[in-house]
């Protein structure tokens, strides 16, 4: 078993170089350390408030090896219940989603209310006086907080509050959440897939403005053929930002249509007045400048460590968890304004699928690239990836790698090994 290196990130400011060691993607010890020091010490996306509209609504979520019941109790409080019976451990929720007053363990029949309380124990008279239902409620994730409808959990009871953790990323969540006065909602239908590559490759790829011209040549050709043209000149955005705590974003203008709110011919002539109306309403509600920014810019937002909210030709919410150094599960949803008119919702979903998802005109090629990188690392273990683009550019553009360096610096900071932490990594790996 190899030990963690002293450093996987070579941040060489003097020479304007930034490199990442390829073993960071390959070593099982790195993944064990990431689980202990990153995934168990960060805020992790659980779900959106709109997915639990009614008391009793639940969604079963997989966060790595942990299965969590994201549920709204009959008291309307949202909870993150760990899906394991407090008796002998079987999973009490065995459906992907639904509405339930209670969850009954099928092994011995213990029953838990949708707020987690233990409310039924068959043959309870067999237990002695020390037995306490109160102490045997379903366990909850140590922390659960929400920001603008986005719920996060943390397994670190001491972690800073969610708003403090989000730092500059909150501004970009606001730019999404402000798109409707009625709030936003997750549209039905989950794109659930897996990629045979290290999870950090998807972090990089989700905010990579450099690869589009080559990797997505076919999408760009499709886009041009569909009549999309560049946006009117004037307010020109093209920037990569480090948002603090490992979060980062790209903010830019693009030729693709935006349901909120940039019309392209693919939406149809009939949709043009409606898009104008959406823009006008936004401006009336938020002021011209903010409305223009929301409607005109596309934004790829990465929230450390594993949440991506890309507000591009549609809004995708995408989270992913490593299962092994070379394997991750991915879940992706479409986020949209509540109360969107049906015709507009249809355009939004069509626009989403032109680029996004495992059947889109772009994502399959990203998956191909990530898996190809991972195989390439296996061929060249010990080599370094170069992430130096625009390292000395004062206002780094989206085709640089400023945003990736923000992630990697935080990653290295949390992972920074010392004797104790190597031992800890091994202990986790041995579990």
């Amino acid at each position: 078993m190899t030990m963690l290196r002293n450093s996987y990130v070579d941040d060489d400011a003097r020479n304007g170089l930034f490199r990442v060691q390829r073993q960071a993607f390959l070593d099982p010890e790195v993944l064990a350390a990431e689980r202990a020091r990153i995934f168990d010490r960060s805020w992790l996306y659980l779900g959106h408030e709109s997915e639990l509209a009614e008391p009793g609504d639940f969604r079963m979520r997989e966060l790595g090896v942990r299965r969590i019941v994201f549920v709204r109790g009959k008291d309307r409080v949202v909870r993150a219940l760990l899906n394991s019976c407090t008796h002998r451990g079987a999973e009490v929720c065995r459906e992907r989603s639904g509405n339930a007053n209670s969850f009954q363990c099928f092994y011995h029949g213990w029953t838990f209310a949708n707020d987690g309380r233990l409310i039924g124990v068959p043959g309870e008279e067999a237990y002695a006086s020390g037995f306490s239902r109160e102490k045997l409620a379903l366990r909850e994730a140590p922390r659960l907080e929400q920001y603008r409808g986005f719920y996060f959990v943390s397994f670190d009871p001491e972690i800073v509050s969610l708003p403090e953790y989000l730092a500059g990323a909150a501004e970009y969540l606001d730019l999404v959440a402000d798109q409707s006065e009625l709030g936003m909602e997750i549209v039905g239908g989950t794109q659930s897939y897996a990629i045979n590559a290290n999870w950090k490759l998807l972090v990089e790829n989700s905010c990579d403005g450099y690869h589009a011209q080559i990797a997505h040549a076919r999408y760009l050709k499709y886009l041009a053929a569909s009549g999309a043209v560049g946006l009117p000149q004037g307010l020109k955005w093209n920037r990569a930002r480090d948002l603090g705590n490992g979060h980062a974003c790209l903010e830019y203008t693009a030729a693709w249509g935006r349901p909120i709110a940039h019309w392209v011919p693919a939406f149809g002539e009939g949709a043009a007045p409606e898009i104008e109306e959406i823009r006008a309403k936004l401006a009336a509600r938020l002021g011209a400048e903010r409305a223009h920014r929301i409607a005109t810019t596309s934004r790829n937002l990465g929230i450390f460590p594993n949440l991506v909210i890309n507000d591009i030709m549609a809004i995708t919410v995408r989270t992913f968890h490593p299962l092994a150094p070379g394997r991750m599960n991915v879940e992706a949803w479409s986020l949209a304004p509540r109360g969107e008119v049906p015709e507009h919702r249809r355009h939004r979903l069509q626009n989403f699928l032109t680029f996004l998802g495992p059947g889109g005109f772009a994502t399959p090629d990203d998956i191909e690239a990530l898996e190809s990188c991972h195989r390439g690392y296996a061929s060249t273990g010990g080599e370094w990836n170069d992430i130096s683009r625009d390292i000395v550019t004062p206002e780094p553009p989206i085709t640089g790698e400023h945003q990736m360096r923000a992630f990697w610096r935080r990653w290295q900071e949390l992972l920074a090994p010392n004797v104790a932490s190597i031992a800890e990594g091994r202990r986790v790996a041995a579990r």
Binding site: R96, S97, V187, G188, G189, T190, Q191, S192, Y193, A194, I195, N196, A215, A217, R218, K221, Y222, A225, S226, N329, W333, S334, P342, R345, R346, L349, Q350, F352, L353, T354, G357, P358, G359, F361, T363, P364, D365, I367, E368, A369, E371
Partner: protein, 172 residues
């Protein structure tokens, strides 16, 4: 099978027979496995749709639910052009595929149209890995003067997610 591309040819009012339908589906599957996608595309009507629902919403409508694929005739045409082009990296070099169709059921006929379902297993082989796609097809077939044409083609996966197969980068 390689009939002239004339999706606008008149609808003929005569029920499609089981033999015609099965022959058509098997020939269509062969075109896809042979990557003769331009010939395959010519089998679609001008108002055709090709779709693959998300695995947790198999019975949904693409106008209000996120699908994996929800092509109209124009995006299907583009999809085929892309798959035959050189920069669709996920299918260049393209995968081998082999599809098995069975349990063909003619659910309804209406003069020149037939509503057909069939079960499928589609194997995709690439990079020394085999992905197995399992599900059922829904078709609306039309008898046109130029031959049988597809107006609606939906591949509904029985897989609970795409975790075992990764993506749908080819025509399912």
């Amino acid at each position: 099978m390689s009939r002239p591309a004339d999706a606008r040819s008149p609808l003929l009012a005569a029920d499609l027979s089981r033999a015609e339908i099965e022959d058509f589906l098997y020939e269509e599957a062969a075109l896809l496995d042979e990557w003769r996608l331009d010939v395959w595309l010519a089998l679609f009507t001008d108002d055709a749709t090709y779709s693959v629902p998300s695995t947790d919403a198999p019975d949904a409508d693409p106008s209000d639910t996120l699908f994996l694929i929800a092509d109209d005739a124009a995006s299907l045409r583009s999809r085929v052009e892309q798959l035959l082009g050189k920069t669709t990296w996920s299918e260049n070099p393209h995968a081998r595929t082999r599809r098995l169709l069975g349990n063909v059921r003619i659910r309804r006929t209406d003069g020149a149209r037939a509503w057909v379902t069939a079960n499928f297993v589609v194997y995709r082989m690439r990079s020394h890995q085999t992905a197995t796609y399992i599900g059922r097809y829904e078709y609306v077939l039309e008898r046109r003067q130029a031959g049988v044409r597809i107006q609606h083609r939906r591949a509904i996966l029985d897989l609970e997610s795409l975790r075992d197969v990764g993506k749908v980068s080819f025509i399912l």
